[in-house]
Amino acid sequence: MSSNVGVMIVSHSLGIASGTADMVRQIGGEDIPISFAGGSADGGLGTDVGAILKGIQEIWTDAGVVVLYDLGSAEMSSEAAIEMLPEKQQNKIQICSAPLVEGAVLAGVESCGGGDLYQVKSVAEKRFVGIEEISDSSKSQQISITHPIGLHARPAVKFTQLAKKFDANVQVKLEEHTSWVDAKSIVRVMGLKARHGKTMNLRANGSDSTEAVNQLVALVKNNFGE
């Protein structure tokens, strides 16, 4: 069973729901559970509580599900559907207030990168939690990006997946920037727009921080194994 957070798309229109799911699938591929409910039960514009319930059940895993919706009544119908599920499941479902298409794609990216339920929700809503300041600079390293397309989608997935293997808190930024971002968040790492030729700084703290920084630097150095 997949352990990635599921993405449930709810729209008043079947076309929008299925099209949005296609866009998420393009990024997440087969790795993330995606389902959608669009239109009313009789095929018109509207929402269908039964279809939302069924959609969530279809993609259910213990990692939980985020629900993205288009308009207020779709949110209401989603809430009604969620309340029909056992309480244990209800606690692992988060409704995201985000623009449907953008939110769903961001949620898909973060889920694909292995983010947990709350990370996926906050990324979809673009509420990035502030990160801890790391003052000990002894584990910091600098590395130039030699990969021709830079730290784009595929390399960024590899980068964050590696970062997640460590307990250490790992942070990254571009040399020219001042703020650090969480190296374990795919959306944040892609958001760096670290193109070919840019220089990146890495820092970390925690028990395996030296190893984390060394391995990430090595990954960038060998062009993400591509």
Binding site: T47, G72, S73, E79
Partner: protein, 216 residues
């Protein structure tokens, strides 16, 4: 004199038939109102919901009042297809949660109504003054409570409720919508009655008239 009502098969069928007929008779009016400030489907949606309730009325009339209200609420929730499904559905389900006996006194009914209104507020994250069905439901609920505590005569109580429902409906005309699709219109929502408030008012009046005619 305040009656207690035994919510038996006859009452269940009577209320289902009367309310469904009411929605059917006003289907076009409701859709017309919704076309001014919403997505022009309220009448169609409510009709679909009440037709679905009508379709299961033989089954509903065999259930306890509590179960029947819950099932009718679930039917609206699943079948309506718009915002009014979860809202009117939550109202009935909320009422059912405060039901425990088959014999319903007016004071019991008042508590049930209050519970239904609370669930609508919760579901819609809304309250009175936002140009919604709550502008009818909240004043009616308050009136019911007041009349129960004053032991108002039943005929008078019914007149009071109808008056509150009509006033509540009319109050939505000058309101600016802050909830739902109508809120996108901002100032332009002013001058139109809210369709959900209209449905609530019509249904409350229908139920009041049913009780009146039964007591004649």
């Amino acid at each position: 004199m305040i009656n207690n009502y035994n919510m038996d098969v006859r009452w269940a069928n009577l209320l289902i038939t009367k309310t469904s007929t009411c929605v059917e008779d006003h289907k076009d009016l409701l859709t017309e109102l919704d076309s001014k400030i919403g997505d022009a489907d309220h009448g169609i949606n409510m009709s679909r919901g009440f037709q679905a309730i009508m379709a299961i009325s033989p089954e509903l009339s065999k259930l306890t009042f509590e179960e029947a209200l819950k099932k009718a609420g679930m039917t609206l929730l699943m079948k309506v297809g718009g915002a009014s499904g979860p809202l009117f559905g939550s109202f009935l389900i909320g009422m059912s949660k405060a039901t425990s006996h088959e014999v319903i006194s007016i004071s019991k009914f008042s508590l049930m109504f209050e519970n239904g209104v609370a669930d609508v507020k919760k579901r819609g994250k809304s309250d009175i003054g936002e140009k919604t069905m709550l502008d009818v439901l909240v004043p009616v609920s308050m009136q019911l409570k007041e009349d129960v505590s004053n032991s108002t005569d039943e005929q008078q109580l019914i007149r009071n409720i109808i008056q509150r429902a009509e006033e509540g409906l009319e109050s939505t005309r000058l309101m600016r919508a802050t909830k739902g699709r109508a809120s996108f219109l901002g100032e332009r929502s002013i001058g139109h009655l809210d369709p959900g408030a209209m449905t609530s008012c019509l249904l409350i009046k229908t139920i009041c008239e049913t009780f009146n005619s039964e007591n004649e």
